[in-house]
C-alpha cells in the first residue's frame, strides 16, 4: 500500500461549472476513497413556499434548475393538480410532452458538449452546442424564454403553439436531426472518444439498483426504468419504450443519451401528429388541501415533488428530490478505484446539476 494523499476537487474546477466538492483520497494515481460535500449554493427555495401564493410559485419551481426548468415547473403543477383533482385539457397535455422533449434534447446536447469539452475535444463541443442553439431558438419562439420556458401553469399551459407553427417545427427538427446524426457518429465511432469512455466507470446492474441510480445512469446499466412509462402528461398515448444499454460504463451512458435524442424527436413527431384541438387550461377554483407526490422523468432522471396544503393560498410544505441527489451514491461507487485523470469525466457522466440538488 502506497502513501495516501488527499486531493481536493472543486467547488471551483475548470472542467465543471457545478459547485460540488470532492476530497479524493489517492494512492499514486488511483482514487481509493471519495468524500463528497455539497451545499455551496443553497437558496432556500423550499422555504419560500410559505411566502408566495401556490399559483405564483410555479415561476419559482421553474427556476429550481436552469436546464430542466420546464419539467420542474410542470411537475409542480402536476402535484398541485393532484391535490385539487384538476383535469388538464388534452391539448395542454400534448404541449407539455412537446416542451418536455425539447427540454430533454437541449439538455442532452448540452451534456454531450460538456463531455466533449471534458475529454478535450473542443471542436465537438462547439459542434454540439451549435445544434443546441437551433433548439433554443425553437423554444424561445414558442414559449418566450430560452432556457427558463415559463410556460407551465396549474391546470394547463400558459401559451399555445399554433398548428402551422407545429408543422414548421417538424420541418426544422428534420434538419436538426441530420446534424445530430453527423455529430453522434463522432461520439459513437471515434477511437479517441472511445478510449476515454469505454470501460471507464463501470456500475454493475446490481449496484445501480441497490444504490438507487436514476435516469440514463440506471438505463445504461441494463434496467428498463423510465417514469415516462407510468402515465403522466400524454406519454401513455405515444407508445413510449425506454432506451436501455447493457454496457454499464460511461460509453453506455453516452449511447443512452444519444439514442434518447432520436427518441425525443420521434415523440415530438408523434405528439404533433396526435395533438387535439381545444382549450389549453382549466380554471382553478379554491385552494389546495391535502398532500400529493408527483413524479416525472427529467433529462437527468426521476424527479419527485411533494406538496402539502392546508386549504389556504400558501402551501404548508414543499419538497423536491432531484435526480442528481439520487445519483450521488452511484457516483461515489464508480469513483472509487478509478484513475485520477478520469474523475472529471466520471463526475460528468451522472450529468450533475448541483444547483437543483441544493435548491
Amino acid at each position: 500500500m502506497g502513501k495516501q494523499t488527499i486531493i481536493p476537487f472543486g467547488p471551483q474546477h475548470p472542467v465543471l461549472p457545478e459547485p460540488i466538492h470532492l476530497d479524493l483520497v489517492c494512492e499514486d494515481e488511483k482514487v481509493v476513497d471519495v468524500i463528497p460535500k455539497i451545499g455551496f449554493i443553497h437558496r432556500g427555495l423550499e422555504k419560500l413556499i410559505e411566502k408566495k401564493e401556490f399559483t405564483d410559485f410555479v415561476h419559482i419551481a421553474d427556476r429550481v434548475c436552469g436546464i430542466c426548468s420546464f419539467i420542474h415547473g410542470m411537475t409542480y403543477c402536476m402535484a398541485i393538480e393532484g391535490v385539487m383533482n384538476i383535469e388538464v385539457p388534452p391539448r395542454a397535455q400534448y404541449l407539455r410532452v412537446i416542451w418536455s422533449e425539447f427540454s430533454r434534447i437541449h439538455s442532452h446536447l448540452l451534456w454531450l458538449g460538456l463531455t466533449a469539452d471534458a475529454f478535450g475535444f473542443e471542436n465537438l463541443f462547439m459542434a454540439t452546442w451549435r445544434i443546441r442553439e437551433h433548439i433554443l431558438d425553437i423554444i424561445e419562439e414558442t414559449t418566450g424564454g430560452r432556457v427558463i420556458f415559463g410556460a407551465s401553469k396549474i391546470g394547463g399551459t400558459r401559451r399555445d403553439i399554433s398548428n402551422d407553427k407545429l408543422k414548421d417545427i417538424l420541418k426544422e427538427l428534420e434538419g436538426i436531426e441530420a446534424q445530430i446524426r453527423e455529430c453522434s457518429e463522432v461520439f459513437l465511432k471515434d477511437s479517441s472518444v472511445k478510449s476515454r469512455l469505454v470501460g471507464v466507470g463501470v456500475l454493475t446492474k446490481e449496484d445501480a439498483y441497490k444504490l438507487g441510480a436514476v435516469g440514463p445512469m440506471l438505463r445504461a446499466s441494463g434496467h428498463d426504468y423510465d417514469v415516462r412509462m407510468s402515465p403522466y402528461a400524454a406519454y401513455q398515448e405515444l407508445d413510449f419504450v425506454p432506451v436501455v444499454e447493457n454496457s454499464c460504463d460511461s460509453y453506455g451512458r453516452c449511447v443512452v443519451r444519444i439514442k434518447e435524442l432520436y427518441q425525443s424527436c420521434r415523440l415530438i413527431e408523434k405528439a404533433v401528429a396526435k395533438i387535439p384541438e381545444g382549450a389549453i387550461e382549466t380554471k382553478i377554483v379554491g385552494f389546495p388541501k391535502g398532500e400529493y407526490f408527483a413524479r416525472s422523468e427529467q433529462p437527468r432522471g426521476e424527479v419527485v415533488y411533494y406538496v402539502k396544503g392546508d386549504g389556504t393560498k400558501m402551501l404548508k410544505r414543499f419538497r423536491v428530490r432531484t435526480p442528481t441527489f439520487a445519483n450521488l451514491p452511484p457516483l461515489l461507487k464508480v469513483l472509487t478505484g478509478c484513475q485520477l485523470a478520469d474523475v472529471p469525466i466520471l463526475v460528468l457522466t451522472i450529468d450533475p446539476c448541483i444547483s437543483c440538488t441544493e435548491r
Binding site: K52, E53, D56, F57, H59, I60, D62, R63, R130, D137, E140, E141, G144, G145, I148, G150, R159
Partner: protein, 113 residues
Amino acid sequence: MPIAKMTSSVLKILGKKPSTRAYPFYKRPAFKDARGKIVIDIPLCIYCGICMRRCPANAIFTNIKEKVWTIDHFRCVNCKLCVDVCPKKCLSMESDQALPSTTRLGPEPSLKK
C-alpha cells in the same frame, strides 16, 4: 481514406458562411412575444401594489401615498406574472432585453405622475 474525408469537409466548410453572427454589427431581432423587459404606462397605474406583492423576485416597489412605481431590472426574472395580474393592464413586456447599466443593481429612477 481519412485524408480524403477531411479534405472534402475542409472544402465544404470553406464554401460556407460563418455559423456565428458578427454581433455588434448585426443583432438578431428578438422573437415576437419573447419575454424581455417590463415596461409601464405610468398614467394608467393606480399604484395598487398587486404587482409588488405577487412578484416572485421582489423586484417591484410601489407606494400608493407618494405615487411611486419602480422596478429593479437586474432583480426581475422575466416571468411576466405582473403583466398577467395587473388590474389596469398598464404593464406590458417588451421582447427586447433590458440594457446594461453603469449603476450596480440599482432600481430605475422612480416613476412619478
